[in-house]
Symmetry: C2
Subunit: 123 residues, 2 copies
């Protein structure tokens, strides 16, 4: 149950640069306020239709549709057809992946600081 939010499954050191290519589209998809609000709505209220999501915003239904396609392309969201409706639901795996990337960056930075400190203290 719940999403795997522990154990960064350390790619640190080696696989960092290799993983950057895979994560950058996720960050790009997250880099828009409207899309972040859509994600917030989806992961708080479960699956919602396009019309429902549009009601929360001031923009057009088609604009929301485009944003949903961008999010789906990045793997952040998934759609389930249901009659003439089409409900969209949050897909947490890519968010976890992005979080691990930020963890890797922070860890690398901390290591660099530790090396610097050790170098200074050895003086």
């Amino acid at each position: 149950m719940a999403s795997p939010r522990s154990q960064p499954s350390a790619p640190g050191k080696s696989g960092l640069r290799a993983s950057l290519k895979k994560v950058s589209p996720v960050f790009a998809a997250l880099g828009d306020e409207t899309r972040l609000r859509i994600i917030a709505a989806l992961c708080a209220g479960g699956a919602r239709s396009i019309a429902q999501l549009t009601a929360d915003t001031t923009i057009t239904r088609q604009a929301v549709t485009k944003h949903l396609h961008v999010l789906a392309e990045a793997g952040l969201v998934r759609d389930v057809k249901q009659g003439r409706e089409r409900r969209w639901e949050f897909e947490p795996s890519k968010v976890e992946q992005a979080r691990r990337s930020l963890d890797a960056i922070s860890r690398r930075w901390d290591e660099a600081l530790a090396r610097l400190k050790a170098c200074v203290e050895a003086e």
Copy 2:
């Protein structure tokens, strides 16, 4: 010492949507592979000049300059002038902020799942 990578300082629940507006530019800045590589280089090797950073890539110095300005605008990077050189260094605070936002999203999602589960079990 080191960056504050523990205690999400829970804005969860209330401040999520309010914080989204502030974090989206950070995600947008992270949403480019070239910029991610620049960040990786900076947080691994400390402060580097534009010419040094350009040597690692295939693109022009001016392109790297533009990327650095985008990163600086997002607060992910800081520059220190030093003679005729201008060294750029990683600025970890915004990365931590972005990480906390992803934490908040994951947490909200987990809570939604827990509510759903409780609702089902009450049936």
